[in-house]
């Protein structure tokens, strides 16, 4: 398994009150597998995704990537090396062109110069936006922005891709196209893909559906 979560528990403190959000989750996903993580609002799915993405640390339990337990002190390094993210609101840098958005992410991950530029062009071609690579995000449609975000997540060789409601800001047709493209690329490049969603269309592209309710998988 490329990504495992063992007995993940997370509590938040509000004043004197301790609120349990995740109550002991075991989860695993393999390379090339696509998992849809579904649940109602407040069920803890985004918190769980943040923990899988090494953005939050669990109160208890371990995240294991490629057989290695994630050290809480090295979350940045793990994110650089092993993870790619796609966000609901795209989160592209408005001052950078489509290809620069991808190249900058590669720069942050440590890839520089011609190598980064070549890789950025490869992935933007892969998502079908070769002719839009010099466009600023404001000149792209919602679907195109999300494709750039997917290209950014794919850039480099991160084995795990995590997507948070990737179709929430897209219309039904575009959402379906984006999901199918995302699935095809993840499969082709043998990446694990976890999609947190409310959108029933995601089921069509997922290999497995996992439901989360009140901080537990059901």
């Amino acid at each position: 398994m490329i990504l495992e979560a063992r007995n993940i528990q997370k509590t938040f403190t509000e004043g004197r009150e301790t609120i349990p959000v995740l109550r002991g989750i075991d989860f695993a996903v393999d390379r090339g597998e696509i998992v849809s993580l579904e649940g109602p609002s407040g069920s803890g799915k985004t918190t769980f995704l943040s923990i899988l993405g090494c953005i939050l640390t669990p109160s208890k339990g371990d995240v294991i990537i490629d057989g290695e337990r994630v050290d809480a002190k090295r979350l940045n390094d793990v994110r650089k090396r092993s993870l790619g993210f796609v966000f609901q609101q795209f989160n592209l840098f408005p001052s950078l062109t489509a290809v620069e958005n991808i190249e900058y992410a590669l720069n942050v991950k440590g890839m520089r110069g011609r190598e980064a530029r070549t890789e950025a062009k490869r992935v933007i071609e892969a998502v079908g936006l070769g002719d839009r690579q010099a466009f600023l995000p404001r000149d792209l449609s919602g679907g195109q922005k999300q494709r750039v975000a997917i290209a950014r997540a794919l850039a480099g060789d991160a084995p795990i891709l995590l997507a948070d409601e990737p179709t929430a800001n897209l219309d039904s047709v575009v959402g379906t196209q984006v999901l199918e493209m995302f699935r095809a690329l993840a499969k082709k490049e043998n990446r694990a893909l976890v999609i947190v969603t409310h959108d029933p269309k995601v089921r069509a592209v997922a290999d497995r559906v996992v439901k989360i309710h009140d901080g537990r998988l059901s």
Binding site: T46, L49, S50, G53, I55, L56, N76, D77, R79, K80, R81, L83, F85, F87, Q88, Q89, N91, F93, P94, S95, L96, E100, E103, Y104, A105, N107, V108, K109, R112, G113, R152, D164, A168
Partner: protein, 376 residues
């Protein structure tokens, strides 16, 4: 490497313009204020520097060259007798009234020597021969008088100085005092005869030129011993004392420091405010940088670079504006002195202060939770 810092800064052109303008305004303010101050200070010791005496003998506790007090002129003989003294001459500096053709009376600051040529003073003579001053009731007038006295003067014209009709036989340029009162150059004896009650048998300074190889401190010590009721300064000390008088006694220094401080404060506030607002508006982008593996240092580098760009461009614009103001300032008889050291200090200060302003945003960046990228 994609230059997110520069592209992001230039993306919002209005904000960028405001930031650069803030720095430029502060830089111009500092250049103009300090430059004017240095210009005034330059005038305060200009004649001292051009007389180029090794030692100045003054009456006791004289504050600056313009406010001279008298002492017996025979003291010069005691100075001339000291080994190591190559030349010693009396110099009178005295304010007198001058009547103008219009009928009005103005002030003039008189410099009187027996031998102007020996001291190469005034240093920039554009008409006339200084040797002629001792031949009669003659005067040299500095060109700065034209503006102050309301019109041009010609060689051969007459002016009344304390009721005595003197012929203008020469003109100098650049000879100015801190008080902006135009300078007149008279023969030493003539000056004494104009104000006999104060100046007969008296002088206001003794200029001392040392022989080659003479020890300044030894000669100074000997002059002090022989003239215990006078003060003796080196040229540098006397220039500094004259400048310090105006700085300390007029509040000019305080005014300058205060304006420089306010200029810096305005610059810092503008840069800090725009960078902080920009940080807040781009907080999700910075969260994204963290989410994809970047650390605080990556974001600090972005903010630092933006601050440095604003500093460099603001400095350049501010310096251009200050230089553009120079001719206007010269027109009102003031000088804007911007020496290379000031240029370097203001440049370094702009960078440091802009980086300091960026640090206010650093605190915000450090507290960014990358999990905010999942929030809508």
């Amino acid at each position: 490497m994609v230059d997110l810092a520069t592209k992001s800064l230039l993306h919002d052109k209005l904000r960028f313009l405001i930031t650069v303008s803030g720095v430029a305004f502060a830089v111009t303010l500092v250049f103009v204020q300090v430059g004017l101050f240095l210009g005034l200070m330059d005038n305060a010791s200009l004649t001292i520097e051009h007389l180029n005496a090794d030692l100045w003998v003054t009456s006791h506790d004289t504050k600056n060259i313009d406010f001279a007090h008298t002492f017996p002129e025979t003291h010069v003989k005691r100075v001339r007798a000291i080994p190591g003294v190559a030349r010693a001459d009396n110099l009178i500096v005295w304010f007198m009234n001058i009547s103008l053709p219009s009928g009005s009376v103005e002030g003039t600051e008189v410099y009187a020597l027996e031998d102007f040529a020996a001291w190469n003073f005034p240093w920039n003579v554009v008409a006339g021969n200084l040797q002629d001053l001792r031949r009669g009731n003659y005067m040299f007038l500095d060109a700065s008088a034209e503006k102050r006295y309301g019109g041009p003067f010609q060689i051969g014209e007459y002016r009344e100085v304390i009721g005595r009709r003197l012929k203008i036989i020469g003109r100098s340029e650049e000879a100015k005092s801190f008080t902006t009162t135009p300078l007149t150059f008279l023969d030493y004896t003539l000056a004494q005869s104009l104000v006999p009650s104060e100046l007969r048998g008296n002088t206001t300074y003794i200029l001392v030129k040392l022989a080659p190889g003479a020890n300044v401190e030894q000669v100074r010590g000997e002059i002090k011993r022989r003239l215990p009721y006078n003060d003796v300064f080196t040229g540098k000390e006397w220039a500094q004392r004259s400048r310090s008088y105006w700085v300390d006694s007029t509040g000019l220094g305080l005014n300058m420091y205060l304006t420089v401080f306010l200029g810096c404060l305005v610059g810092i506030v503008v840069v800090a405010q725009t960078l902080y607002t920009s940080t807040m508006e781009h907080i999700k982008e910075f969260g994204t940088v963290k989410a994809i593996g970047g650390g605080n240092a990556d974001i600090y580098a972005i903010l630092g670079k933006q601050a440095a760009i604003a500093a460099v461009l603001g400095f350049a614009l501010g310096a251009v504006m200050a230089y553009a103001l120079r001719p206007l300032i010269y027109k009102i008889d003031l000088k804007l002195v911007i020496p290379p050291q000031l240029f370097a200090i203001v440049f370094a200060g702009s960078i440091v202060l802009c980086l300091a302003a960026a640090m206010i945003s650093f605190r915000k960046v450090a507290s960014i939770d990358p999990a905010l990228v999942f929030r809508t």
